[in-house]
Subunit: 190 residues, 2 copies
DNA sequence: GTGCTCATCTTGTCAATGGCAAGTTAGAGT
DNA sequence: ACTCTAACTTGCCATTGACAAGATGAGCAC
């Protein structure tokens, strides 16, 4: 079976279920996700997902790990300094909403999953690398970890509030532009 | 029935269910909340909660509204400038984790609920009042809305990451102190 | 090519849940 | 006393997550 879907063995069910999960989460959020609905979307029996992911937490953990990998890629691709990395963080959250909404829901995840931990470290490394690229004469140069924490907090908070629909209309409809203005307040000289 | 709990009419069931809901959310998160479990905790039948709150979204909306009221109180009580208001925001999130975890989960709430909207506005007003108290000679004085957005983003992000357990150990175990350091980076002169 | 083995997927089942419909109780007003 | 109505109960159904046991077929040794 090259890439078809017929037969007793699906051949690529794990990937198909992951894609279906991302789609379903995008429609109704992670809480409303149903393993049986995923099975229906993929055209398999209701117990097939459990074989590949164990249980619901296992599936969401796989989605989160994929999300952290995608985030690490997005942050690295935006290597134009901390400001642009921060903008990319917000852009990722908006464009990959389904992934992002799962990635920080520790109550739904298996926090000790090796793949998840590895992907989280890749993302963290991308963030810290951009902090290391800040000019050496900035006021807070003696505490790069503090810079990283502040930068992460402000972009994560902005992204979360944007996705929650909590921000007023005056912020506009361009999340990247609005995020750039906010981050610029934290690092005025970059 | 002055304040007892016996009898066919509970007398204070709505309040009891809200308290039970906050307790249950604190134990297992909002997603795992079960109306039937709440009914058991309160010693009533499984359909009693639906009478007072309609459905699960109605109950969580009531919890969120109560949370925004508590948050507005906490922000007003900390009237020592924007820095302390921000610290109070983080303190509220940590100390009232159950409420906070529901307040921004728009997928679980009835966003058009009048009580919820009123409570949200009370919180927003408290935040904006503290921005208005910033010194008039600061660099960004011409854009107080931008200041408010940046401040909200950074404290909300820090609180969310703290609750998610996403922050590294080096941040320490005192959320208020760590939050103060982070906020100070955004408003260095306050 | 025959038979073994095991990952993959299915069928069947159970307890728990959310939500709805219909019935019961008690308190408040007249 | 009578009625009205909010407060709560009982009963029910479809859906879900999880588990157990069975069926299938692809790869591999020989």
């Amino acid at each position: 079976m090259s890439s078809g879907t017929r037969g007793y063995h699906h051949g690529d069910l794990r990937r198909a279920l992951l894609a279906a999960a991302v789609e379903a989460i995008g429609e109704s959020g992670p809480g409303a996700l149903s393993l049986r609905d995923l099975a229906r979307r993929a055209g398999v029996s209701h117990a097939a997902p459990a074989h590949h992911f164990g249980d619901k937490a296992g599936l969401l953990t796989a989605v989160a790990a994929q999300g952290f990998d995608l985030l690490a890629d997005a942050l690295r691709a935006a290597d134009g300094g901390l400001l642009e990395v921060g903008v990319a963080y917000v852009g990722f959250a908006v464009e990959h909403r389904a992934h992002f909404e799962v990635m920080f829901r520790s109550d739904l995840l298996r926090a000790d999953d090796p793949e998840l931990l590895a992907a989280q470290e890749r993302s963290g490394a991308a963030l810290h690398a951009s902090v290391a690229g800040l000019p050496a004469d900035r006021p807070t140069a003696s505490d790069p970890q503090g810079d990283a924490l502040a930068a992460w907090s402000i972009v994560h908070g902005f992204a979360t509030l944007w996705l929650a629909g909590a921000l007023p209309d005056e912020v506009g409809d361009d999340p990247r532009a609005a995020a750039r203005a906010v981050i610029h307040r934290l690092f005025p000289r970059n």
